[in-house]
């Protein structure tokens, strides 16, 4: 929570000496509140004020970055409880877990497809972020071996899981320290784990069964000079996960409660059952998780989760758009129908989905409507006869089709007259209002 100008003013010398370059301390305070200047401009601020002001300037939830070989995944730096208040910024990382008591072939069989997996969604390429390696053996050599096997296949960031500092050290030697996450520190081992995190430049997961326990540990570990932490409140069912995630986010944002100002790491995989794991993962995506560790990887379970992550973390003020252009649906020939619509992703995919799903060949001209849906764009003057005609020319539609007939969305029937004038000699047909009616329209009305 940012401090107001008045509150900041009270912490300044209030001498109006102008050394900072501003006429009064209040003016300087206002600039500080707006984060437009640095506190260092004032040579006279007390040490105490400096400390409290820098505390509040830091983001309420620590940004933790896992990185390896050019791959990065970040969580934290969130400022709202609800995406509609502004947006969620850093998509939760999705990781797949293997255990060191699994034979190497099994580990490879799990990691290789997950590593290679990527899927297209509205023109965006989606993939997983990394792997978690857990030590069940509690043996340093076995753990190191498992980490090595994973590293042979994947260069992505790793989460190493063991409560035994010796085992963790062996794992870190194979994984590399910087950019790796150590899971985890608890009441018994926090000093050693903090030491490891510090010396290797790794981030540290803190595990405790209560918020008080977490706060206590993060403060102690911060005292050792480790700042990059994530938290695991130890809950694994839908009700408790929601309660803790919400309460922790609320405390961090509304009360600026620093000891809980760190991203969360969650383990839907502990559910055992893949169906329940999906449900827990979906909740985690919607409700504040920073790092999500799955045990099951199948394309049919990961694809919807990747899409959900995109959806929830879309900036509500910036609609996703597709590239304007002439799209081919089901391999159309020159005599097949020409449709036109806007470049809002959902609009495009609703139309394309219906036509493709029905197996009908068609050309789809997608105009640049700044990512707005049909009616919205029309109301804003971004989807009209002039623009459609312009894009017909821009994308050389006439070179691709041998007819001169265009089908416009039903919601903008009103522009058909204008479009006749903009495209002389063309037949303007008014299509259905809803994409779902397109197949019937194409089959029966053309």
């Amino acid at each position: 929570m940012a401090l107001s100008g008045i509150v900041i003013y009270k912490m300044l010398p209030k001498t109006n000496c102008k050394d900072c370059g501003f006429p009064t301390c209040l003016a300087f305070a206002m600039k500080l509140a707006a984060k437009q200047v640095e506190l260092s401009l004032c040579p006279h601020v007390s040490e105490e004020s400096k400390a409290s002001l820098s505390e509040s300037a830091a983001p309420p939830i620590r940004l933790v970055t896992l990185s390896a070989n050019g791959h990065e995944v970040k969580a934290g730096n969130e400022v709202v409880l609800f995406r509609h208040e502004k947006t969620f910024y850093n998509k939760p990382g999705l990781f797949v877990r293997v255990r060191d008591n699994e034979p190497a072939e099994e580990i490879i069989a799990k990691v290789a497809p997950a590593e290679a997996y990527h899927v297209n969604y509205v023109g965006i390429d989606l993939n997983l972020d990394g792997f978690a390696v857990e030590s069940v053996s509690d043996d340093p050599a076995t753990f190191a071996q498992a980490v090595e096997v994973v590293r042979e296949i994947s260069q992505r960031p790793l989460i190493l899981m063991s409560h035994n500092p010796e085992v963790m050290t062996a794992g870190l030697d194979k994984a590399g320290g910087k950019g790796t996450m150590i899971y985890g520190a608890n009441d018994e081992n926090w000093q050693e784990m903090a030491g490891l995190a510090k010396s290797k430049g790794a981030s540290l997961a803190v595990v405790s069964g209560s918020m008080e326990g977490l706060a206590d540990l993060t403060e102690k570990i911060q005292g050792q000079g480790v700042e990059d932490m994530v938290m695991d409140p130890g809950v694994r069912d839908l009700g408790a996960s929601l309660a803790y995630a919400t309460q922790i986010r609320r405390l961090a944002l509304k009360k600026n409660y620093r000891p809980l100002g760190f991203p969360l790491i969650v383990f839907p995989g502990d559910a055992g059952d893949p169906a329940r794991e999906s449900v827990l993962a979906a909740q985690a995506i919607a409700k504040y998780a920073g790092f999500i560790v799955l045990d099951h990887f199948t394309p049919e379970s990961i694809y919807p989760l990747l899409v959900l992550r995109e959806n929830i973390y879309t900036d509500p003020q910036k609609p996703i758009q597709v590239q304007p252009g002439l799209y081919e649906l089901n391999g159309p020939s020159a005599s097949d129908p020409l449709l036109v619509t806007t470049n809002f992703s959902i609009t495009y995919f609703s139309v394309a989905n219906e036509v493709e799903g029905a197996g009908l060949p068609a050309w789809l001209l997608v105009t640049d409507a700044e990512g707005m849906s049909v009616l919205t764009a029309w109301a804003a003057g971004k989807f009209d006869a002039e623009r459609i005609a312009k894009d017909v020319k821009r994308f050389e539609v006439m070179d691709k089709i041998d007819h001169r007939r265009i089908i416009i969305p039903g919601h903008v029937a009103v522009i058909s007259g204008e479009l006749e004038e903009e495209l002389p000699g063309w037949e303007i047909r008014v299509g259905p209002r809803e994409a779902v009616d397109l197949p019937a329209f194409i089959k029966q009305a053309l």
Binding site: F82, A282, Q283, P304, L308, I312
Partner: protein, 121 residues
């Protein structure tokens, strides 16, 4: 029109996962917050139709000539409906209309888990 408030529900007309779910999701969060802050008109239960929306999608309807990354058709389709429903549940849905019995089973189990209020420590 003298229709009593306790016989009216709201359908915010949400889209499926991947097809606009976040618009409905945020509308529902705002409605719920307004309701909890005393706006009587928004204090009506919310009904959502993930069954209808999810089974309209290409991911659910089409099994042939789709990307290999989409995986097994039936499992994917059920996941699509279930995760659409679970997400809307998290944003405050009170009545969910589903289609596949397996989605129903999963969502019911989720609701039972959510209704068990934990002691926060």
């Amino acid at each position: 029109m003298n229709m009593p408030m306790n016989r009216i529900v709201m359908d915010p007309t949400t889209g499926a996962l991947g097809y606009g779910i976040e618009y409905g999701y945020s509308a529902m969060e705002r409605l719920r917050l307004a309701a909890l802050q005393g706006d009587a008109m928004t204090q009506l239960p919310m009904l959502v139709t993930p069954g209808y929306e999810a089974w309209k999608t290409k991911e659910s309807k089409v099994g042939q000539d789709v990307p290999g990354e989409w995986g097994d058709w039936l499992a994917r389709a059920i996941n699509w409906e279930t995760l659409t429903a679970i997400t809307l549940l998290e944003s405050g849905a009170d009545i969910l209309v589903l289609r596949h019995p397996e989605s129903l089973r999963r969502v019911k189990a989720a609701i039972d888990e959510l209704m068990a209020v934990p002691e926060l420590a």
